[in-house]
């Protein structure tokens, strides 16, 4: 397999291999010398057509700790305004001898298109409203750790994961649903009907607009950011009304068992989709998600680039 475009590209064995190696990588973060030579001589271009400090930085650190030469290219708005097509941009960089592109783009499908134009492997670091597979992997990493701290084996089978928020515009939700479908987790999506994607009923998960009912059953609650500008789009009337129905408010958090892991891919809108009490709770996995980011991305890079060129596989 070449590159990582979608969470659907991964089977259960591959996901587990990525998470297992990520656990090893995680220990590197505690070492005095944070360096492994595995990707020495490999060149990774972080090609960000859309800003994302968090994702770009963690991919950059991941590449560097594996000794790859990591180059950041901010291509925001460059090609269209210059009259250069995205294909030209990709093929130009590809011809410089790049081993992998880590691509973030505001357009859905842009990474898949890029992969069809270049020889290098392409890793989807978020494309429009489509997918963000490494985010789903690091979410799974943090969840698995959480299950283990509860004294469980870390299996996802039968785990109930509620994903709540702006599902329509979220790339995180699509990747998470696909990944959990493979791992055996039971996903319930919660959102006002205006923020549900078309055809969500075919995704193989439950859909609800009753957060309270879902909350009582959940093992993991993942809150997604709701942008305030959605209000002007008529998706919901006010932040206050949104929080009352779909926010992890203090009242809802108080009802929650401390064994329920609280996730948020960030950046958080405190007071809208998540209360500070929930965000900073002992069972909040928000910082675990962030710290898992580098390890999971190291693991993905190693799986894709750690072997022979023709054999790079997960």
């Amino acid at each position: 397999m070449k590159g990582l475009l979608s969470a659907a590209d991964l089977n259960a064995h591959e996901i587990e291999s990525i998470l297992d190696v990520a656990e090893e990588m995680h220990t590197i973060q505690q070492r005095p010398v944070k360096k492994l030579p595995a990707l020495r001589g490999r060149t990774i271009v972080n090609l960000f057509f859309e800003d994302s400090t968090r994702t770009r930085t963690s991919f950059e650190i991941a590449g560097k700790w594996l000794s790859a030469d990591t180059i950041n290219v901010s291509a925001k708005g460059s090609s269209v305004s210059k009259g250069e097509s995205m294909r030209d941009t990709m093929m130009t960089l590809d011809s410089m001898g790049v081993d992998a592109f880590v691509i973030r783009h505001s357009s859905s499908g842009a990474v898949a298109q890029a992969a069809s134009w270049v020889k290098a492997q392409c890793i989807n670091a978020g494309d429009g409203q489509h997918e963000h597979p490494t985010q789903a992997l690091l979410d799974a990493f943090a969840m698995r750790q959480h299950f283990r701290t509860l004294g469980e084996g870390g299996s996802f089978a039968g785990k109930r994961i509620a994903i709540v928020g702006d599902l329509l515009h979220s790339r995180v939700v699509r990747s998470n649903v696909l990944l959990q479908r493979t791992l055996g987790g039971k996903v319930t999506l919660v959102a006002p009907p205006t923020l549900l994607p078309m055809g969500v009923d075919t995704w193989g998960c439950e859909v609800s607009s009753d957060f309270d009912a879902v909350l009582d059953e959940a093992d993991i609650v993942m809150m997604l950011r709701v942008q305030r500008e959605r209000m002007s789009g008529g998706f919901f009337p006010t932040a206050r009304e949104y929080a009352a129905s779909y926010g992890l408010t203090e009242e809802r958090f108080a009802r929650l068992s401390p064994t329920v892991g609280i996730c948020h891919p960030g950046p958080m809108n405190r007071g809208v989709e998540i209360s500070s009490a929930a965000a900073d709770a002992i069972n909040s996995l928000v910082l675990d998600q962030v710290s898992a980011g580098v390890a999971v991305r190291m693991s993905v890079l190693y799986h894709l680039l750690g072997g022979a060129d023709e054999e790079g596989q997960l």
């Binding site: 291999s17 297992d20 190696v21 090893e24 220990t27 070492r31 005095p32 010398v33 360096k35 492994l36 030579p37 595995a38 001589g41 594996l66 190693y302 799986h303 894709l304 750690g306 072997g307 022979a308 060129d309 054999e311 790079g312 596989q313 997960l314």
Partner: protein, 182 residues
Amino acid sequence: MTDPSTHTIWGSAEISRALTRMAHEILESNGGTSGLLLLGIPTRGVPLARRLARIMADTEGGAVPVGELDITMYRDDLRNNPTRRVGRTVVPTPIDGRTVVLVDDVLYSGRTIAAAFDALRDLGRPKAVRLAVLVDRGHRELPIRADYVGKDLPTSTSEKVRVRLTELDGSDEVAVQREEAR
């Protein structure tokens, strides 16, 4: 079924005897267990390190720390093969100032041990590094030599040395396997 191309060299008793001797040699040259750290190289170096540590503890009293040092990411042939599975690295105590004994099952080209040196360097600065192997089959490609050897086993490069250990394989055995002519 017995494979006619496989020739058993050692069984459980011989392996046990060799390990006991090696443990004593380590203790002797180190002057006891003080400052020792045994790091097994996955996969079969790890149970061997544990056995050596147990023998030393039985002999001297007092536990010898044992860890695992995975060298996958330090290999110089990563790019020639499909992506390798990564093993665990567990270092129970800081290596700075310790006498680290690397433990592996078979010493062959020496490249694994060279990779292990690189891996150690990223973990800290040991006082000294020693090497213990159950079988030395020759054919070194690097200037590396074992300090403690269970058995010198002259082989040809067309042969394979297979070590089986009870912990992983259900029984103890050292065998030489002739590569079938194709």
